[in-house]
């Protein structure tokens, strides 16, 4: 009898919850939410957050090397923002993790153990100053497309964090464009830096949006995130938006895209393109990408080296 009552109460809560998000209301951290919703958010936001933290590393490599004082300042500010975005997102994830009694330290451990994944693009090597520019221009461009898609997310704290993040991403994109523009209008060598970067990053950019459906990699979170009004568009719609915004810009600078089949099909109003090797997503998820281990190692070393600081300043038990 009690069990039945409980079930009914749960069902009622669920109905109310669905009604709330369908009415466009925001769910807050302390509100009741279905476990499935919480779990989906935790997965999405902790991965998003840790990706920002890991994403600071490839660009950080180029901070001291940036070729002018002004570029040094610009890229330093950008890396700072990436860390800042990680801070915002991890705070959101940490609040969601409360019922499981997990904290930031646990998220770091999850990262080190390989349980918490980070985005495919941040497993790649940033080999040249051209790559540093391209990350700002196109990787951030892709990130802007996927993040603006979630600005209306039903989970209030995530939506608010994204609003802050997207505002800063506009600066990032322009910072990337400025680097690319200088190279594109520069010497032959400089121009080539950009083409090489486009060639190296293109496939990663397509992978970034995730597979079109379950069948490419065996699972996809997109349906459930759409159901819960966390995002509105599918992976494929986002990828198409990326093509629509960026292909013409790349071509206008006189560069080519390493996909001879790429074209806009007027009839279906979609971009036709060479499918990337979806299997690579699984490789990166296992932390077996080109620089996965090196990046994790940097993070791990710094975490270990600073352990004494955290110990020394931890408040004494009350």
């Amino acid at each position: 009898m009690n069990v039945l009552l409980n079930d009914m109460a749960e069902q009622e809560k669920l109905n109310q919850f669905i009604a709330r998000i369908e009415a466009g209301e925001k769910i807050e951290a302390d509100d009741w939410m279905p476990e499935d919703y919480r779990g989906t958010l935790i997965k999405l936001i902790s991965m998003h957050g840790i990706s920002e933290i890991m994403g600071a590393l490839p660009e950080k490599e180029w901070v001291p090397k940036a070729p002018t004082l002004n570029r040094k300042l610009g890229i330093m500010a950008k890396v700072q923002d990436e860390m800042g975005h990680g801070q915002l997102l991890l705070r959101v994830a940490e609040d969601l993790l409360k019922p499981y009694n997990k904290k930031r330290d646990d998220l770091m451990q999850d990262l080190f153990k390989g349980d918490l994944k980070f985005h495919n693009v941040f497993h790649m090597e940033a080999k040249t100053w051209g790559d540093a520019g391209l990350i700002g221009w196109l990787v951030d461009g892709a990130a802007i497309i996927s993040q603006t898609n979630m600005l209306g997310a039903s989970y209030g704290p995530y939506a608010r964090a994204l609003l802050r993040i997207c505002a800063e991403e506009v600066f990032h994109a322009q910072h990337g464009e400025a680097i690319i523009m200088a190279l594109a209008e520069g010497t032959e060598e400089q121009r080539k830096l950009v083409q090489d970067s486009i060639n190296y990053w293109w496939e990663s950019l397509l992978l970034f949006f995730g597979p079109p459906s379950k069948k490419e990699v065996g699972s996809s979170k997109q349906d459930v995130t759409i159901k819960y009004r966390i995002r509105t568009s599918t992976n494929e719609e986002l990828r198409q938006a990326f093509f629509s915004k960026y292909v013409k810009r790349i071509l206008s600078l006189g560069y080519t895209i390493p996909d001879e089949t790429l074209r806009f099909d007027k009839e279906s109003e979609t971009w036709i393109y060479q499918q990337p090797d979806w299997g690579k997503l699984k490789v990166y998820a296992r932390n077996e990408g080109p620089l996965s281990q090196e990046r994790l190692s940097l993070r791990r070393i710094s975490y270990e080296n600073n352990k004494w600081v955290r110990e020394a300043l931890a408040p004494k038990v009350i």
Partner: protein
Amino acid sequence: MGNDSLKDIAIKELLLHLADDDFIHSYRGAEWLGLAPHIEEDVASSSIAQDTMGHAAIYYKLLEEIGVGNADQLAHDRPAKERRNAIILEVVNGPGYYMKDPEYDWAFAVVRNYFYTQAKAIKLQSLHTSSYEPLAEVAQKVQMELYYHLMHWKMWFVQLLGSGHEEAVSRMKAAIEKTLQDFAGVFSLGQYGEEMVELGLIEGEADLQKKWIEAVSPIFESVGLATTFEIRMAKGDGRNGKHTEDLEKALETLSEVYASDKAASW
């Protein structure tokens, strides 16, 4: 530059001290990006590294304005022996490289940052009344940002030393000793120091150092440290072009892209 008066040389040298100090200090700060004890601190200390690079850029610009060279060229294209920064500021953050196995020491970062920022604040105070007006003006502006830098590093210094945590205290003490070994280099005015003082560009080394000791002594006392300072210049005087391999390696990194095409626009 053969016809430069002694005054021109003294001004140029002093500007190079200031510019090169902040430039290399900011680089050491930037190496910490992504590696600080926690994310919030990573973001906060990045602002300090940025401000500091901004200050270096202001001084290089002053040098550019008096015809010493283009600011970017001055920052990127001078070999170690022409650099004027204090040696303590070029010392690596710890073993390893910022991209591989950086075994960095937060205690050394805190101590060096606190000591340097305090010294910088004292110098800027002195520069307020510099007879070289463009520098006096700049000093007032730059000082505005130092309130935060100083408070930030002082807080870390006091908290870690006051934590009662054995490892923290011993690391901090070791870092203090290490930093003081070469900290006199920060006050050094180099071979044109006497002229600088005579011309009223800045106060003398001994005065600057005395004021620094006065400023840090109460902080030392508050965490139970002795205030007998032995401030040395063990590795030599960076103001006169003496430097270590640490600087050479840093410059290689700092100018890698710039040097790939010095004529290009980046």
